[in-house]
């Protein structure tokens, strides 16, 4: 997933980097095809070039040798809300076919079955990033018909589109899973466009809680070559924090 996600990051893109797999994918892209990937962290690091894989988005290695360190007010107001973030990158506990994401609660908000961490910066990233990448493992429990709580809005909320709601950012463009990749069609619905070698569309449907649209031109998703695998395992995440 980290490898496939990294391919969505182009050299020179300004990326708002989240914790976990997004972090790994960004650092992989930077070590391979996108050395000029410009990484911004909600902790305040701008143009970070961490020497080690940052364990948290506030790791000291993000500060040392970054181009700028600014207040969180500047991150959210002057960079994100002002429209300077090209790519946002989120994961979650639930996602629906419109790319709405839940990281708040499983069950009822007032009386939750499981209390999750909450939004952090996810909601505003989903609102403002020019394009949003979502990275999540597939299962019927996580790819749901309707999120218990919409923390971060996707393409369509209670029947209303982003345009109708006046939302500035572009919304999700790519949903990267462990079985394949979905893109979003003109109505804002996720369409399976790639599967990993050996994965069938039926297997993807079996791990998805909604009736999955499948592209007519389904492709095979690219997998990492040996060099990339070595890079991931030996240099980028030797402690296997995310792999």
């Amino acid at each position: 997933m980290a490898h496939r996600a990294s391919q969505e990051l182009h050299d020179g893109n300004v990326v708002f980097v989240g914790i976990g797999l997004p972090n790994l994918a960004c650092n992989l892209a930077r070590a391979t095809h996108a050395p000029g990937l410009f990484m911004i962290y909600e902790s305040g690091a701008v143009g970070a070039i961490p020497e080690r894989l940052p364990v948290s988005i506030g790791d000291p290695s993000l500060v040392t040798d970054s181009l700028a360190v600014v207040s969180q007010a500047d991150i959210f107001q002057c960079l994100l809300q002002r429209g300077h973030i090209e790519v946002g990158f989120l994961g979650g506990a639930q996602v629906d076919k419109w790319g709405n994401i839940n990281t708040t609660v499983i069950g009822d908000y007032a009386n939750p079955k499981v209390r999750l961490p909450g939004s952090g910066g996810a909601c505003e990233i989903a609102v403002h990033a020019k394009r949003l990448l979502i990275i999540m493992r597939m299962s019927k429990r996580t790819f749901v018909e309707r999120c218990d709580f919409v923390t971060s809005p996707g393409h369509r909320m209670n029947g209303k589109s982003r345009a109708e709601l006046g939302m500035p950012g572009g919304g999700p463009t790519c949903l990267i899973t462990d079985l394949g990749v979905m893109e979003f069609d003109a109505t804002g619905e996720a369409v399976l466009t790639e599967v990993y070698p050996g994965v069938t569309p039926e297997a993807a449907q079996a791990a998805c809680g909604w009736k999955l649209k499948v592209s007519d031109t389904l492709k095979t998703a690219s997998v990492p070559d040996d060099a990339t695998l070595r890079l991931l395992r030996e240099r980028l995440d030797p402690q296997r924090l995310y792999l």
Partner: protein, 304 residues
């Protein structure tokens, strides 16, 4: 008017934090003052409204110790590792002692500090369209732009009774300098009614005056200054010590069960009288391992 505000952590907390106070121990992964949280637990302060974007392990410990009535937050987890288990136990439907939660996104809660620090009653932000955060929290309202007609979200100003701000260095009047991640320290300090500055180093005022652009909190808004080296462990202080990532990982196991959690508090919080005793209890060699390898910036010229 030079006033010396230096005192011990014990004095600063007992003079400022009362039962029922609203409190923020600020810091965004960086500069989280665990020493202050532990002292609050030792003093047995109750019914706190605990405020922070990212209630870290130290807020979870305050919850486990029974100090907290209400949590105001935007992301509650053990970053990169797992959950905050005391919070989780008190946040789910099955919990007998439910905590009051007042929940935002980062930008939303930060905006509450921005409003308060600027002396305004509210702050506008272009956010919360269509999602459920604003539905779940009635404090999030809207305002119409008088020029474009556009509807924007608003949050109300939040003035904590006490803000605790950890910094690399401060003078005895509380002029505090910070580098590396700034989080929302300036905003939180100006938002609060009372400010406690905790510093790794207490320096003569001349050191502050030699580099005035580094001052994040001016002493005129500070009431107490505490000298507490290693006051942030297991969090970190840029240029002083690294984050104790191993501890954050181990915490997942310690905190999962109430028994091991309480045993930890007994040993490392109730069982010591202050930060110095806490540091002595850490495994030998740990502080040397965490101590920062120097990476000095160069000075700049303030002459004319």
């Amino acid at each position: 008017m030079s006033t010396n505000k230096l005192c011990s952590m014990k004095e600063a907390i007992s003079a400022s934090v009362k039962n029922g106070s609203s409190l923020i121990i600020d810091g965004f992964t960086h500069l989280i003052c665990f020493a202050a949280g532990h002292e609050i637990i030792r003093q047995g302060i109750k019914d706190l409204t605990a405020i922070r974007l990212t209630p870290d392990l130290v807020y979870d410990q305050l919850i486990e110790a029974g100090c907290v009535k209400k949590l105001v937050f935007s992301w509650a987890g053990n970053p990169g590792v797992g959950s905050l288990h005391a919070l989780r136990r008190r946040g789910e439907a099955s919990s007998p002692q439910r905590l009051e939660l007042d929940e935002y996104s980062h930008f939303g809660l930060l905006s509450r500090f921005l409003a308060a620090s600027a002396g305004l009653p509210f702050w506008p932000l272009n956010n919360y369209f269509g999602g459920d955060i604003a539905q779940a929290n009635p404090a999030i309202k809207t305002v119409q732009c008088p020029y474009t007609g556009q509807t924007l979200a608003t949050v109300p100003a939040l003035h904590p009774d006490v803000a605790i701000i950890h910094c690399q260095r401060a003078d005895a009047e509380g002029n505090a300098q910070v580098w590396g991640l700034l989080g929302s320290q300036k905003e939180v300090a100006f938002a609060a009614r009372k400010v406690i500055v905790v510093a790794e180093q207490i320096v003569p005022t001349e050191v502050i005056r030699r580099d005035p652009n580094r001052t994040v909190v001016p002493g005129i808004i500070v009431s107490h200054v505490v000298h507490e080296p290693w006051g942030c462990h297991p969090s970190f202080v840029q240029g002083f010590y690294d984050r104790d990532n191993d501890f954050y990982v181990k915490w997942e196991d310690i905190s999962r069960q109430p028994e091991t959690y309480q045993a930890y508090l007994q040993e490392f919080v109730y069982g010591v009288k202050d930060r110095q005793e806490y540091l002595k209890k850490l495994e030998s060699g740990l502080l040397d391992k965490l101590r920062a390898k120097p990476r000095m910036s160069e000075g700049v010229d303030y002459g004319y």
